[in-house]
């Protein structure tokens, strides 16, 4: 008698879970080299993405969790495919404040692989003062922090979002009230973002000759940021395959042993 009641209540529950939250324009799903259980980061795309970050994003956005050495073979997850010499050259392009020296003075020197990425602003107040009061978020973990468009919060969800956001700048619709110093973006919560459109296409000249269209730049920088937020992903997935194969075999053996031992009881 209670069966249909339970079934109905179950259905109602399902409907509740499935009810979508009305909000922003849906973030389109892209194809990523690092998607799926065997996905790996496309090294060429990572390097192009790093170039976009270096030449464009890094003027405002810090990546405090990264060190130049992380990009090389000794970095987490084996870096993004640069050699140690290349990493040293990249680090040396930056001026790093070090010290105090024996005279008690801070001084500038060229960067080394062990240095953290140089910050665009010395502190939050300096950033806000320079940028109409806006504070650009640190990008080290931005992909994991914005992964909500993936139902399992996979980094592909964050990559989809950043990729879409970078291409989501539009003219505001008629009658839409913009706050001062804000920009219209269909993918940003509330449609207004302090960041002006950062990439237009042809913002960088890719070292590998790839044509720097806006979708290409957005895709590459999202790939780089995905690596930055989860650099151990490749090792994690590789280990997972081994662990699961082992566990499947072990469980099969245990099942056989269980049947054997219980045979005399049944």
């Amino acid at each position: 008698m209670l069966k249909p009641v339970v079934a109905l209540a179950g259905l109602a529950l399902l409907a509740l879970v499935a009810a979508p939250a009305a909000a922003q324009e849906a973030v389109p799903s892209q194809s990523w080299s690092f998607a799926g259980p065997f996905g790996t980061f496309d090294r060429a795309s990572l390097q192009r993405g790093f170039q976009v970050y270096e030449e464009v994003c890094s003027h405002c956005h810090s990546m405090n969790l990264l060190h130049y050495g992380d990009l090389g073979p000794n970095g987490p997850g084996g870096g993004i495919g640069y050699t140690e010499e290349e990493v040293a050259a990249i680090a040396a392009q930056h001026q790093v404040t070090d010290g105090p020296n024996d005279e008690g003075q801070m001084y500038q020197r060229p960067g080394r692989p062990s240095d953290a990425f140089v910050r665009p602003f010395p502190n939050e107040k300096a950033a806000r003062a320079a940028l109409n009061g806006a504070l650009p978020p640190d990008l080290s973990l931005i992909i994991k922090a914005r992964a909500d468009s993936s139902p399992v919060k996979d980094i592909t969800g964050g990559a989809d979002y950043v990729d879409a956001l970078l291409q989501g700048f539009k003219q505001p619709p008629k009658g839409f009230k913009m706050s001062p110093n804000m920009n219209y973006n269909v993918y940003f919560p509330g449609d207004q973002i302090a960041m002006p459109q950062p990439l237009q296409g042809n913002d960088v000249k890719f070292a590998d000759g790839t044509h720097a269209t806006l979708p290409q730049e957005a895709h590459d920088v999202a790939t780089f940021l995905s690596w930055a937020s989860e650099p151990m992903m490749e090792e994690r997935k590789r280990t997972g395959v081994k662990v699961l194969i082992f566990l499947l075999a072990l469980t099969a053996v245990l099942y056989a042993a269980k049947r054997q031992i219980w045979a005399e009881i049944h």
């Binding site: 209670l2 969790l65 922090a145 151990m232 997972g240 245990l254 099942y255």
Partner: protein
């Protein structure tokens, strides 16, 4: 004990056992320990919970070697574990997902106890010790979630500790005392870290008591009737050791799929943003395993002269406290729901009710969610306080089998007949 457990063992074993009877103890509690012969796979979740506790403690100890409990360093120290510490990412993902899987197995363990009446005489204290373990687990999980010092860590801690401000007169002072200051801050993080390290060992102690209480009368079983003789039981080892190990294998496969391929699926993305006391996240949601309780907390309106906040807090704690009284609230003498034609169905209403509360807890308290939350909260308490005693009085239980062995042998014959019968009918 006429035949010593160490008979036929080496001289060294006998020497040790004469002075410290660990071998006798193991022989007694594993090999001779009589276990009902009819335990189903639902009985795997007790040992799985114990194994999860060990996994959490081992990974936690390794994480503690690299973690820094300071508001300025905690977030980065967790990320250093993820990036620079050898296998740090693995330890952290095992621990982080372990919290979820610990609750999954414990919740299944609890609902198994509810279905088969495992809390009834003479296992009342066994059940109550289990409720204490649940409470300790909840405190441990809550404080552990604060340690990475992400946005949800900070704001979750703020919301939950603020619950105590609902206590009249002294509430505000209690909250300041919990915080060690006037907001969640460095003293809070330090004491939470200290307690998060301590409480698992307290849990371990209560688990030992839980096991002593269990071994006093042995496991309940799907029939809910007592063992009547040797024909009803089998030794725990090797029968249930191998069954538990096979179950563990299946469990680890599912657990590892999450660790290696869906490591953040059960977490909140906001916790990858460092805690910022000046910026409230759009929504403050606890981890999924607290959602039903969170829904109860938010669903309760003003009751007479009790303000909604205090009423919510009382109901939140009441939702657990009521479990302590369950052995006496349930008036039925029959343990297993198999022989309780009404309770058998009402049990599933509670499962559904808790799931509904979980869904409500994950959403803003708006529109229908408020209504469903209130109905579900009300039902939760009615289920325990009204339905348990009333069904026990009204229900006419089915006849119980005379013994476990009789039922098992009869059922295997009847089961085969039952399996072929539908085919003949169609």
């Amino acid at each position: 004990m006429n035949a010593p457990a160490t008979q036929g063992q080496s001289k060294l074993v006998r020497w040790i056992d004469h002075r410290l009877p660990i071998f006798t103890f193991m022989q007694h509690e594993l090999h001779e320990y009589p276990t009902p012969r009819n335990l189903s796979y639902w009985w795997n979740f007790g040992s799985l919970s114990g194994i999860m506790l060990v996994i959490m403690m081992v990974t936690g100890i390794f994480l503690a070697m690299q973690y820094t409990p300071n508001v300025n360093l905690a977030f980065d120290s967790v990320e250093r574990i993820m990036r620079d510490v050898n296998f740090g990412w693995l330890m952290r993902y095992i621990h982080m997902n372990g919290a979820s899987f610990f609750f999954i197995v414990v919740y299944i363990h609890i609902f198994r106890g509810l279905y088969y009446g495992s809390y009834k005489e003479p296992r009342e204290l066994l059940w109550m010790l289990g409720v204490i373990i649940l409470l300790l687990m909840m405190a441990t999980a809550f404080m552990g979630y604060v340690l990475p010092w992400g946005q949800m860590s900070f704001w979750g801690a703020t919301v939950i500790t603020n619950l105590f401000s609902a206590i009249p007169v002294i509430g505000g002072d209690i909250v300041a005392w919990l915080w060690g200051g006037f907001a969640v801050g460095n003293p809070t993080l330090n004491r939470f870290y200290s307690l998060h390290y301590l409480l698992p060992f307290v849990i371990l102690g209560v688990v030992v008591l839980h096991l002593i209480a269990l071994h006093q009368h042995g496991s309940n079983n799907p029939l809910g009737i007592d063992r009547k003789g040797p024909q009803d039981s089998i030794p725990f080892h090797p029968y249930y050791t191998i069954k538990d190990m096979f179950g563990l294998g299946v469990f680890l496969i599912i657990y590892c799929v999450f660790i290696f391929y869906l490591p953040n699926a059960l977490g909140d993305t906001q916790n990858y943003v460092q805690a910022n006391p000046l910026q409230t996240p759009p929504e403050i949601v606890p981890e999924w395993y607290f959602l039903p309780f969170y829904a109860i907390l938010r669903s309760v309106p003003d009751i007479l002269f009790i303000p909604a906040k205090l009423a919510g807090v009382l109901c939140l704690f009441g939702a657990i406290a009521v479990l302590f009284f369950l052995p006496w609230l349930d008036t039925s003498r029959v343990r297993s729901a198999r022989f309780r034609p009404i309770y058998k169905w009402v049990f599933w209403l509670l499962v559904l009710d808790v799931l509904a509360l979980g869904v409500v807890g994950a959403h803003r308290p708006e529109g229908w969610y408020i209504v469903i939350g209130r109905v579900a909260t009300l039902y939760y308490f009615i289920h325990f306080i009204v339905l348990f005693p009333v069904i026990g009085w009204l229900e006419r239980p089915l006849p119980l089998p005379t013994s476990i062995s009789a039922a098992v042998t009869r059922r295997s014959g009847a089961g085969m007949a039952g399996a072929t019968a539908p085919m003949e009918k169609h």
